[in-house]
């Protein structure tokens, strides 16, 4: 494969996940010359069923499904352990290859959190600024949803596809939720409930995360294909090593990338868009330090890498005296956003989920039990069948001490310092997790079920949503990019990523990433 740089490029996009793909597709469709540089490989879609087997046969750690780990992906973790490589995929399609596909809009309050509650900071844009882009993003990804959510922000049109109906276990929860005073509703899914955009309806493999063999779940390979159809050039296995700038320190002049053959090239362009996620984006800026920018590129605020956030999981599960048909799909069909908006500054946002994959799956139980024959079948039957579980996402507020920085001694396969994730939970986040557990407990009490497991503040884990590390803001002294997603410091460098989120909310971030990417592309196109 020819990996030499292209000539006369309008825009160089770093990263072929959903953000980079949407930027590339939009600009290429507008007639611009676009090059996308992706660090990871281009996976063969014909291998997806084999990847599913890798997932279902638990010999294999989950990170092997998409070939993460090893010297290329080395990292360090300080404070609370952060399992970075389980939370991302490098390759064309990015982390949408393994995501679950939940796509909610942020609430209006999320954009004005400090003004309305005293928590966190305000975004430099409002919901109304992003609203048309949300609609476009829902169309681009293909979202199945319904307008039955009384807590959702205003929207202008129906979802592109009808929502997936509630599950059998949703029905088990419904009466208990009503008794507990909790209102439930459908879930917007980036997953085809009918044929859409040349992809089939969901056929129920039940392995959405980490792999959808049918392609019914959206992933960014779809958009990359559209971008290439429109003329964009997408190069894989070309990790960008650093960005170079002009003598004045006003413009980026090139992205220096490595190739599998051992070459190093520089891709020049008029505009550059970083779209490599909440960890690699700040890392690349920090790796691009120079005598003009000794603390890293676009980092005059000192905010690059700071304010790292994720959503925290809160949950509990148990068994009921009824079949609950778990693991027959791999996604969620009912949630409650009733406790999303914060009453004051006492807690962050909470999103409650009702899982359709509680307890062990038949294959998982069969392969890990150790027994065989009649006894195994009996034990799998006992292990499977009547589990229920609630999950939930809890907001983590931005704190400067949570950060991505370059490790002082540890390097990757190319000799670059690895990202070090410095991460801990604040007291308010802990209290919000406890509040989520209280709400979940109230439902289990109404069910008459004693939870067999509870995930609370002590054993919570991240939801694989990397946010905040190049925050958006109006003040160049406090933020990295402005309301147009352009860095304050360099006039032709933009960032399309959850790294620009000033606050995290508690909604899965990809729809907002997509909306911001489309907005970013429009601003770049205007400048071009």
């Amino acid at each position: 494969m020819n990996r030499a740089p292209s000539e006369r490029v309008d825009c160089c996009v770093v990263g072929a996940g959903p953000a980079g793909a949407l930027v590339a597709e939009r600009l290429a469709s507008a007639g611009r010359d676009v090059v996308v540089l992706e660090a990871g490989p281009r996976f063969d879609s014909a291998e997806r069923e084999e990847r599913m087997e890798t997932y279902l046969r638990p010999t294999n750690p989950d990170i092997e499904v998409w070939e993460m780990g090893g010297p290329r992906d080395a990292y360090a973790s300080s404070g609370r352990f952060y399992p970075l490589n389980a939370t991302r995929v490098k390759g064309v399609g990015g982390s949408t290859l393994h995501w679950q596909g939940m796509v909610m809009r942020l609430h209006e309050e999320d954009f004005n959190l400090a003004s309305e509650t005293g928590l966190g900071v305000d975004w430099p844009i409002d919901y109304s600024d992003l609203r048309p882009y949300y609609a476009e993003a829902e169309s681009a990804l293909g979202v199945a949803g319904a307008v039955d959510n009384p807590f959702a922000p205003p929207r202008e049109e129906p979802f592109p596809m009808p929502a997936f109906p509630p599950s059998k276990s949703d029905a088990v929860f419904a009466e208990a939720c009503e008794a507990a005073g909790i209102t439930t509703h459908s879930v917007p899914n980036a997953r085809n409930s009918k044929g859409y955009d040349g992809r089939s309806a969901c056929v129920g493999y039940g392995t959405c995360s980490p792999v959808c063999p049918s392609g019914a779940k959206y992933d960014a390979t779809t958009t990359i294909a559209d971008a290439e159809e429109a003329g964009a050039r997408v190069m894989s296995e070309v990790p960008v090593q650093r960005l170079e700038h002009d003598d004045a320190g006003e413009r980026v002049t090139g992205a220096v990338y490595a190739t599998p053959e051992g070459d190093e090239f520089t891709q020049e362009a008029r505009e550059f868009v970083l779209a490599c996620g909440g960890v690699e984006t700040p890392r690349l800026l920090l790796l691009s330090d120079s005598s003009r920018f000794p603390d890293g590129l676009a980092n005059s605020s000192g905010a690059v890498g700071r304010y790292f956030m994720d959503h925290l999981f809160a949950g509990m599960g148990g068994r009921v005296a009824a079949e609950t048909n778990q693991h027959e799909i791999g996604f969620i069909t009912t949630e409650s956003h009733q406790f999303y908006d914060r009453p004051d500054d006492s807690r962050g946002a909470i999103k409650l989920e009702f899982l359709n994959y509680a307890g062990p799956s038949p294959v998982g139980a069969a392969l890990t039990d150790g027994e065989w024959g009649d006894e195994l079948a009996e034990r799998v039957r006992e292990a499977y069948g009547n589990h229920v579980a609630m999950g939930g996402l809890v907001e983590q507020l931005p704190r400067a001490e949570n950060r991505v920085r370059l490790h002082p001694t540890k390097t990757d396969n190319r000799g670059n310092p690895v990202p070090e994730i410095v991460w801990s939970l604040g007291e308010k986040t802990r209290r919000t997790i406890e509040r989520a557990n209280e709400l979940q407990r109230s439902v289990f009490d109404e069910l008459g079920v004693e939870p067999e497991w509870v995930t609370g503040p002590e054993d919570t884990g991240p939801a694989a949503h990397h946010m905040g590390t190049t925050r958006m803001g109006a003040d160049p002294a406090e933020s990295v990019v402005d309301a147009e997603l352009r860095t304050h410091d360099l006039s032709n460098l933009s960032i399309a990523s959850s790294s620009v989120f000033p606050t995290a909310g508690a909604m899965n971030p990809t729809l907002t990433i997509a909306a911001l990417a489309l907005k970013c592309a429009d601003h770049v196109e205007t400048r071009l």
Binding site: A46, E47, R48, E49, E50, M52, E53, L56, R57, T59, F164, P165, P166, S167, K168, A171, S193, A201, C202, V203, G204, Y205, G206, T207, P213, S214, E323, N325, H327, E328, I329, G330, T333, N356, S361, P362, V363, G364, A365, A366, L367, G370, E371, W372, G373, D374, L376, A377, V380, R381, Y384, G385
Partner: protein, 166 residues
């Protein structure tokens, strides 16, 4: 409960074997299908019928075009037979069902983690025991044995999760 052609296709769909259907599997199969079937008869519940046909079609298709996997399976079958010959004076396939079960426990397969590159018993666990259990429990018949017609790995549609059963 009978394993049918539908189960073979479902199992193959779950693992993307190298050929489009079991009928397409020609040549390059396993030399020792008899041992594999004999093993499946122990691993699968006694109520499951059609084991021989299921295993033959499934396994043939599974190894088609996958020389490394076929070699791993063949090697593991040889290990299993060697154990049977050494301790029971007969090939594994010629032992009674109870003797086969005993042989598996002598190999401590009930407490062995699978590893395709590990010790002999770890490879037997990976290439034979887990291979056959995976095939069964990712099919509609295997799923129904334990309470679901649409286990993970089987593209059984989006009706059953709502409680609709065939």
């Amino acid at each position: 409960m009978e394993l049918t052609r539908r189960d073979v296709l479902a199992a193959l769909a779950a693992v993307s074997a190298g050929c489009a259907s079991p009928e397409d599997a020609t040549g390059d199969g396993l030399d020792d299908e008899r041992t594999l079937v004999a093993l499946a008869e122990v691993l699968y519940p006694a109520t499951v019928e059609g084991v021989g046909e299921f295993v033959r079609r499934y396994s043939l298709a599974r190894v088609e075009g996958r020389s490394a996997y076929r070699a791993g399976m063949a090697d593991a079958l040889m290990e299993l037979d060697e154990h049977a010959e050494t301790f029971h004076d007969a090939p594994f396939a010629e032992l009674s069902r109870d003797e086969r079960d005993t042989a598996l426990r002598e190999l401590r397969l009930h407490e062995t983690d699978p590893d395709p590159e590990g010790a002999a018993r770890e490879r037997v666990r990976y290439y034979l025991v887990n291979e056959l259990l995976f095939a069964l429990y990712s099919t509609p018949t295997g799923g129904e044995l334990v309470g679901t017609p649409n286990p993970p790995g089987h593209p059984g549609g989006t009706a059953t999760y709502r409680g609709e059963r065939r």
